[in-house]
Subunit: 266 residues, 2 copies
């Protein structure tokens, strides 16, 4: 099977009209597919209305019990089930899931070192048997950023990591592409110019771009993660804006494609 | 397949220690099984903390947009995913679902007559193909009381009705028993005496008990629903306390069994 794993974040989730537009595109996206969504800003806002203030360290949320309850409600309840209902309306037979459902993704609580992140999970295992079956049955899994540790504990888990873990796991048996939708049109030569997209990055180009300091700060971990996924067998990784996702299936310049060696569109 | 559809309500959900005890029993419950849960009190409490007061007419919740969001968060998020994680810890491979997931249960918004119930769904169709597959794969579906209308709208739906609709639908091809856990030990001769359980009710006994006014008020719709399920092919209906559920599988007096004609334990 050819499988696309597509991740969206707050910049889509937090804007109802953008979400509708994205879901239109996602519904038309060809082939077998899995959606992974975050939802950070909505959870923070909602927590604040309950008097639970978000506590962030280095851009990462500290997840105490109240925060875990809130993200479970907002991610697995409100956001996930509305996305599923909206996809059903578009004829996409989707199934909303956490990692606990069908034991799809097992993780372990992040060990406490300098920082205690609380109920945050690092992924250990993906149940690709279940996912393969759902995809074969034309069911589209829709994952929120919650996993479990198999001892009854839900764990808040980074949505990028979930997308990557699912993709690399399925890549053992299938041809898998990974799509990260974010707030830029792709990896840019000039951050202020959305038209300066670098269409293709492979290992050689990446080394060059880092040397010239074109790629720096926040883009480095994103690209490191992308290359790690490629190392683990993912066919290609796409980074761009959600609204350009469908263009990427039509061979048009829509974002940045990251691949190990050669250029090869979907 | 022999399938048991088991419904629990607020009297289990709202008490952490009772929920743990119930899940122990549910995990040991033999054969293929589906869990359906409500969660009314927790949603009301949570709504109140957000300034959304529950509005009830004749014991039924009026579901406006804010209330729908709250029940989606509490039922499909907090309660459902914690139950799934707790079952996984007990070795039960469960899958938490709303009616939107896999298009499992499609409903329609209740028409406005004297009362506008808001976003409340009346069930139209159950996707027994999906449920049969999950059960065959030894996956235990765990349903919360949310369905959808296939046009993108989530709908608050009575958990008893969900249990009954699933059971009657699966009964077309399988032998299905339906278990309603509630706050009494069964149908009682004397409401104040939990030991006065009527072990068996069939149509003849029911007619007799109503004539003698032993069964009255709130028990009548419960039993009418049970007999309707039997008419539609359900093998037997059990009513009792969650903590006695497992006894019912051991041929012990544990609650009231409702059947059309003859006594036949699981």
């Amino acid at each position: 099977m050819k499988i696309s794993v597509i991740k969206i974040g707050g910049n889509v989730i937090d804007h109802p009209e953008k979400l509708e537009e994205f879901l239109d595109q996602f519904a038309k996206f060809p082939g077998k597919k899995i959606l992974v969504h975050g939802g950070g800003v909505m959870a923070s806002k909602f927590g604040e209305s309950l008097g639970v203030m978000p506590e962030m360290v280095d851009g990462r949320r500290i997840t105490d019990q109240d925060t875990l309850d809130i993200v479970t409600m907002v991610y697995a309840g409100l956001i996930n089930k509305n996305i599923v209902a909206k996809l059903q309306a578009r004829g996409v037979n989707s199934m909303g899931m956490t990692g606990a459902d069908g034991n799809a993704i097992q993780s372990e609580k992040r060990p406490v070192k300098e920082i205690d992140y609380g109920f945050v999970g690092d992924i250990k295992e993906v149940n690709s048997h279940l996912l393969s079956y759902l995809l074969q049955e034309d069911i589209v899994p829709v994952f929120c950023a919650i996993t479990h540790d198999k001892t009854g504990q839900l764990l808040n888990t980074n949505a990028d990591s979930i997308a990557s873990a699912i993709a690399t796991n399925l890549a053992k048996k299938h041809q898998v592409n990974l799509y990260y939708c974010f707030n830029k049109s792709g990896v840019l030569v000039d951050e202020r110019n959305e038209n300066s997209i670098i269409p293709l990055i492979n290992e050689d180009i990446y080394a060059e771009l880092r040397k010239e300091n074109v790629i720096h700060s926040g883009m480095i971990p994103k690209l490191d993660n992308a290359f790690e996924a490629l190392q683990k067998g993912v066919h290609h990784v796409w980074i761009g804006k959600a609204e350009n996702l469908i263009l990427s299936t039509k061979g048009k310049l829509s974002g940045t494609i990251i691949e190990k060696h050669r250029y090869d569109l979907y």
